[in-house]
């Protein structure tokens, strides 16, 4: 256990160091991306299409930052084992630590971007909420579990079926539009509303937004997110367990 923690730590440090060594503005890049998207959606929906919604910029930012965390993690997951082929073929270390480290790295980037969200909350004349103290860690834990589970499965299966990487890219960008990030759940016609929550990201992203904007959490949505997260983690780990002993053969 002690060793597993050390392994995860050095792998996470590696990811962080590599990212910051190679780019001057490492931190700025990780917030520039969601901010740029927020600007684009603002122009498209508020200025051009005139969607009626108060504080739409804040609304976008509160959803886009957590979404970015998810989509970045999904984007790197196909490469996690593939990129460590030489060492996986030689050494029998616990491979899941690589997935954990990659997702932790993205988690850290999300965590350090939270002040930017808070800045916009204040900018739009709202205050901090006491509920953030437990709400943010809770939702982070849920999203961390969900992401780890998916990343474990994608990283493992991608070794056997390399096309998965392309499929993952398309799926994530489609999923974005089926997730209430640029629109709210009540804008969805009532007959489809139940369908939206079949998307594991939907209740989670809606929860993030209501937490940042109003300081409230809907217990039902959080519970549903947690169920999805637990299922993803269990499923992802099972897939990984089933395939891990063949990694060295196919790399």
């Amino acid at each position: 256990m002690r060793y597993f923690i050390d392994l995860t730590t050095v792998l996470t440090q590696k990811e962080l160091k590599v990212r910051y060594k190679n780019s001057f503005f490492g931190y700025l890049w990780s917030i520039a991306h969601p901010l740029a998207f927020a600007a684009v959606f603002f122009v498209a929906f508020k200025v051009i299409m005139r969607v009626q919604m108060e504080d739409y910029v804040l609304f976008l930012i509160a959803g886009l930052f957590p979404w970015q965390w998810f989509s970045n993690s999904a984007g790197i997951s196909p490469h996690i084992f593939l990129g460590n082929a030489s060492i996986i073929k030689k050494v029998n270390f616990e491979r899941s630590a690589g997935v954990l480290a990659a997702v932790l790295n993205e988690t850290i980037h999300f965590a350090v971007s939270i002040p930017v969200i808070v800045f916009f909350v204040y900018y739009y004349g709202r205050g901090a909420h006491a509920s953030w103290l437990y709400g943010i860690p809770l939702l982070m834990l849920v999203q961390f579990m969900l992401t780890c589970g998916l990343a474990l499965a994608v990283a493992s299966v991608n070794l056997f079926f390399r096309d998965l990487e392309r499929i993952a890219v398309i799926t994530v960008s489609m999923l974005f539009y089926f997730t209430p990030v640029i629109y709210s759940l009540d804008m969805v016609p009532p007959q489809y509303r139940a369908l939206v929550n079949l998307n594991p990201l939907a209740p989670l992203m809606a929860s993030w937004r209501s937490l940042f904007m109003y300081g409230t959490l809907d217990a039902g949505l959080v519970a549903l997110s947690a169920v999805y997260a637990a299922a993803a983690l269990a499923g992802g780990y099972l897939v990984y367990r089933k395939l891990v002993w063949k990694f060295a053969e196919v790399l």
């Binding site: 050390d6 050095v10 996986i88 030689k90 050494v91 299966v157 056997f160 079926f161 990694f247 060295a248």
Partner: protein, 249 residues
């Protein structure tokens, strides 16, 4: 029951031919057992019924042509591959001596890579820190230790790799064709270190195409050919037979 640190009994290894796999992900996931069965039907046999033991402190050399199955054998001993038939038993801390740069990151410095590699090879962070000074000294990389690996030459990367591996306190050491790139002086140093390992009772599997090193280091040699142990015996004998075969071709 034998208590040798390395025991291969009746080991066979076949590799699946994954490139035959055409069904698409949907079929793969929905008919997982069936898909796997169809994969099993087209397999490449790398080793068949290989049995040997290596006693504690013994160094076993493995020779054979390209594609004979030597690296496969080490993969089985390292536990990264599973035998298809038979059983592999290796006890104690295993340290694989890695091929050039495996597990290193080009953008990290020598020091950072020592930490990364040491932990990947099974040490805790505290254990790596304890050994850091000794590893750096052994590598003789001087000021380069604070430079990123991408400015290193091949031989320097190999030095760093060997230096980490040499300080792991392994019970079993697996060496696959890694000494070739170091300069003469460093090769001597590595051979010296390996003799030291032998004195300490470390058990070694040594794969090499360099017959002089095999004769120098090994206590016994097996020659893998046609998927099996073709010959096993004293280094001089096996090397002579193996080299003779090569000359005859």
């Amino acid at each position: 029951m034998s208590s040798a640190p390395i025991i291969f009994s009746g080991v066979g290894k076949t590799y699946p031919m994954y490139h035959h796999f055409t069904g698409g992900i949907k079929n793969f996931l929905f008919n997982l057992p069936e898909a796997l069965r169809s994969l099993r039907s087209s397999r490449f046999e790398a080793l068949r019924d290989v049995s040997f033991e290596v006693a504690k402190g013994e160094t076993l050399g493995i020779v054979g042509g390209n594609g004979a199955g030597k690296s496969t054998l080490l993969g089985l001993a390292a536990g990264v591959l599973r035998p298809t038939t038979g059983a592999v038993k290796v006890s104690g801390r295993i340290s694989p001596l890695l091929e050039l740069g495996a597990g290193f990151h080009r953008d990290l410095t020598g020091l950072e890579n020592i930490m990364l590699n040491g932990v990947l090879l099974g040490l805790t962070r505290a254990e790596v820190k304890e050994r850091l000074a000794a590893i750096v000294e052994f590598s003789e990389l001087g000021a380069f230790i604070d430079q990123p690996l991408r400015v290193y030459s091949n031989g320097m990367v190999a030095r760093l790799g060997f230096s980490v591996a040499a300080h792991l306190d392994p019970d079993v050491m697996l060496i696959d064709e890694v000494l070739a790139v170091g300069d003469e002086e460093f090769q001597k140093k590595c051979l010296e270190k390996m003799r030291e390992f032998k004195r300490k009772g470390v058990t070694m599997l040594f794969v090499s195409h360099s017959m002089p090193s095999v004769k120098l280091i090994c206590d016994r040699v097996i020659w893998i050919a046609d998927r099996r142990v073709h010959m096993s015996g004293a280094p001089a004998e096996v090397v002579r037979a193996y080299a003779g075969e090569g000359a005859g071709l």
